[in-house]
């Protein structure tokens, strides 16, 4: 595999986004190409990850298990996509299993090799710290917004959907989990709103007709009595009296 090729792909990986070409080629040099056969397991859920994979050729599936223990495909990744980039910097267990769907070629960047690059090149370290901090800021901002929106939804105020959409499409890194969460959030709110409007429309309309002839007749039956005439007089006098008090 061509070094230039690897370099181009690495550039698209968000944690490397701030690196100069020169710095990036140092990183690219420490990576190694690997061939995998169909069915090979690249990483296993729960195992501690210590490398990043860059897919050169072929497709892999990212899977987990559902509650019954059956395989559940979360995603598929192909040429140019990176998986497991976080493993270069921390040592947490893999969140899913990755299996090759066909014979494929990947570039692997090992954590220990990568750390050597970091030790030698403070500019690479700094750039990576910056890209992380950017990400964190981005996530925090949107988490704060999501809290605010959630409160609005609870009050039945959906106006923010229309006001906020432009910001969403400007989100800078497409692969950012915060962006994914927000787009899922917005889809949810839109569906809830639609369903609510649907329900409102299903409300039944009640209409009545008053029988005016009957109304008049009943009114006359009551008001034509001796009692009523006297009451009307007394009420009139009473109101006058209370007015004067």
């Amino acid at each position: 595999m061509m070094g230039q090729d690897i370099l181009e792909h690495l550039k698209k990986t968000s944690i490397f986004s701030g690196l100069t070409d020169e710095a990036l080629s140092d990183v690219a040099r420490s990576a190694s190409a690997r061939k995998v056969a169909k069915g090979d397991i690249l990483m296993k859920k729960g195992e501690v990850g210590d490398s990043l994979f860059l897919i050169q050729q072929g497709w892999v599936k990212i899977v987990t298990e559902d509650s019954k223990g059956d395989e559940l495909i979360i995603n598929k990744c192909g040429p140019g996509e990176t998986i497991g980039e976080m493993a270069l910097l921390d040592r947490s267990p893999r969140s899913a299993t990755v299996i090759a769907l066909e014979d494929a070629e990947v570039v692997e960047l090992k954590q220990d090799v990568f750390e050597k690059v970091l030790n030698q090149r403070p500019d690479v370290s700094l750039s990576i710290i910056r890209s992380y901090s950017d990400r964190l800021r981005f996530s925090t901002t949107y988490i704060e917004k999501a809290i605010d929106w959630a409160q609005k939804i609870a009050e039945g105020d959906y106006s923010f959907i229309d006001q906020t959409q432009p910001v969403m499409s400007n989100a800078k890194s497409d692969d950012d989990k915060a962006t994914q969460l927000l787009s899922a959030f917005f889809t949810m709110v839109r569906r809830v709103k639609e369903r609510e409007e649907g329900l409102k429309q299903q409300l039944e309309k009640l209409t009545f007709e008053i029988d005016q002839a009957r109304r008049k007749q009943e009114f006359e039956e009551i008001t034509s009595t001796e009692f009523y005439s006297r009451l009307k007089e007394q009420a009139k006098a009473l109101r006058q009296k209370r007015l004067n008090e």
Binding site: E204, T207, F208, I210, R215, F219, F227, L231, L238, E245
Partner: protein, 260 residues
Amino acid sequence: MKGKIVSIHSFRGGTGKSNTTANLAAQVAMAGKRVGVVDTDIQSPGIHVLFGLDEDKMGKTLNDFLHDKATIREIGFPIGENASGAAGRAKLAGKNLWLFPSSIRGREISQILKEGIDFNRLNEGLQSTIKEFDLDYLFIDTHPGLNEETLLSIATSDILIIILRPDQQDLQGTSVTVDIARSLDVPNLILMVNKALPKYDFVELRKDIESKFNAPVAGILPLSFDLADNASNDLFSLSTPDHEWSRSLREVAQAVLTLG
């Protein structure tokens, strides 16, 4: 004159007059007003139950007053000093709220029905109740329909609240009451819908009723099993303030407070 007489009326029985009257009076008292509640449903009194007053505790009644056997002072039962036994009612402790109950003794009921009520005597009673207790509002719970004592309470009221259920029969009957209220020059007429099925469009319903009667609908209160279950011996708007019924009831109370 200061105190306002607020009558609560409905064309048919069981519409929710007693519950509404008791809760409205409680809300207005909670707002710091001096409030009285008179049960003029002498044929089938019921509101005392909502205030936790039973036969043992009941002293002199409206019937005694009408027969010249008691003064207004004697029949006023201070709810604020007897606010216990139920969670909602307990909130009324210390409030200025009095109930003027109607007798629940069969003999006394049939006696007064036979003799009829003297307009002047009842009227005199209502006026002196306001004066002697220095009331801001006197609420009157009535017997359904348009019999003589109900007509009488309509005639003396400053504010008439007509409660109706959203159905053809109630709307037809209410139309006659509205005409009577106008004929008797009642200064303020308010409509209130109770027992509305939640599946109906309340906004449309309000518009329709307001345009038919040319009078404001101060609240549309839903039919609620919670209320049917819990309202028989406590004040629902105090025990369950966050319920939609209670919220709408407070809108009606607000309309009353705004008028006087």
